[in-house]
Symmetry: C2
Subunit: 233 residues, 2 copies
DNA sequence: CAGTGGTCTAGACCACAAG
DNA sequence: TTGTGGTCTAGACCACTGG
């Protein structure tokens, strides 16, 4: 018998969760159906449904109509990665953020970028190179291609003043994106810009964002040595 | 007038989403309250609630009692990172997976690992070094510390045969974990094991998992050059 | 076919926090 | 104080899919 009543969906969720963690219900096991659990917990089926859906979203349960609800065979393999706005990431550490535009031009993107963005060969984009600094030390180097056809307002913006990422966040909504994380050795220009030595291991984040099907921007962020990206399961 | 009826929560979600994407509702804007939207869409308030909660979970809306619902100022900054089981990651690419245990011993973990795991100084852990291979080529080097107090059954397992990660997934549930991603240059032993050269940039994933408050395992995966981690917003 | 989860509804009450 | 979201309930019907 439990002392605490199980009369809200979060209580149901933690009860079910603890049964999974206790291994009272093991990976692969079929658990009772919603109606039975509602009866047991003394609440409505909708409440049980809410709790089980939350657990299924977190990857702890597998649910299928008619087949019932099972404890997931391979529990929680999802982590939520918070994509930081670099300014915030730096300011959260009580460091001073600054931003410097290195160059800005209109040009046809190279084939690899064009392929990533899914653009026609003739499309011109704006290329922005910029440096983000923390306490006046190089933090990340930004190499961005911006589809001006998709975001015409961008051509009127002065990116000397406006941080491109922050401007886009406010002015160019996107619906989808993909991110690739990797490591690379610093080449000569990277080493110079980031004030490090050639060959250093750098953390790289490539990000492509789209609005419905049209590419907005493709950005490569190359971080100064020592950068870590943290996340929680 | 819309042709399609908005009578389920997913329809409400996409309608609201498209108003955000249209910039009919801009970042920072207050949107109508649930009751009004329910009236407009011709559905129950609970249905609207479901839709708006889903959007809020995705970071597109900020909701506060009494203050109402606003379009998020900094939309979608969350990506879901799927933590792969290395075997699956390799087999999905139609490569042959193999696994080799390099060494296994019982020892007190070094202070940095102990701190990460939050263990007392006297606790002994099992250290496992292993190599994951794809098509017989080194793929990732695994350096794992396993809290045998938390998972006593582990001491009886033969990790020559059983891949530690897969065994733990099936036998040691965890409730929380944190992940750190970084880049480093290969040192001599890493270069040797991964069959690469000293100084190469390697992608590193450090993962700590706990069951409630007790540390289960701390694992460092060092990937062979060229590794990329992909994810979607 | 029939059992399971998925969802809607109308109404109700509660918890929180802005003014 | 009071408007807002958060949640519960009971009952209903639907959608999917296993056997």
């Amino acid at each position: 018998m439990n002392n605490a009543e199980i009369n809200n969906w979060q209580a149901v969720r933690s009860e079910v969760l603890s049964r999974i963690q206790n291994r009272q219900w093991k990976p692969g096991d079929l658990i009772p159906n919603e109606a039975d659990l509602a009866l047991e917990f003394g609440c409505a089926r909708a409440t049980v449904n809410r709790a089980l859906q939350a657990l299924a979203e977190n990857g702890l349960l597998d649910r299928r109509r008619k087949a019932g609800t099972r404890v997931a065979l391979h529990p929680v393999r999802k982590a939520t990665l918070h994509i930081p706005i670099i300014r915030h990431e730096i300011e959260d550490r009580k460091q001073a953020y600054s931003y410097a535009l290195i160059s800005s031009k209109l040009d046809k993107p190279p084939p690899d970028i064009r392929a990533q963005m899914g653009l026609r060969a003739t499309v011109e984009c704006m290329q922005l190179l910029a440096l983000h600094l923390a306490d006046s030390r190089p933090y990340a180097y930004e190499d961005r291609w911006l589809n001006v056809e998709a975001v015409p307002a961008a051509s009127k913006v002065d990116f000397e003043i406006n941080n491109a990422n922050e401007w886009l966040v406010m002015n160019a909504p996107f619906t989808a994106g993909d991110i690739t994380l990797s490591a690379k050795q610093a080449n000569a220009p990277e080493a110079k810009i980031l004030r490090t030595t050639i060959g250093q291991a750098l953390f790289v984040m490539d990000r492509n964002t789209r609005n419905v099907d049209v590419a907005i921007t493709s950005v490569k962020l190359t971080f100064a040595p020592g950068y870590q990206l943290q996340t929680t399961i």
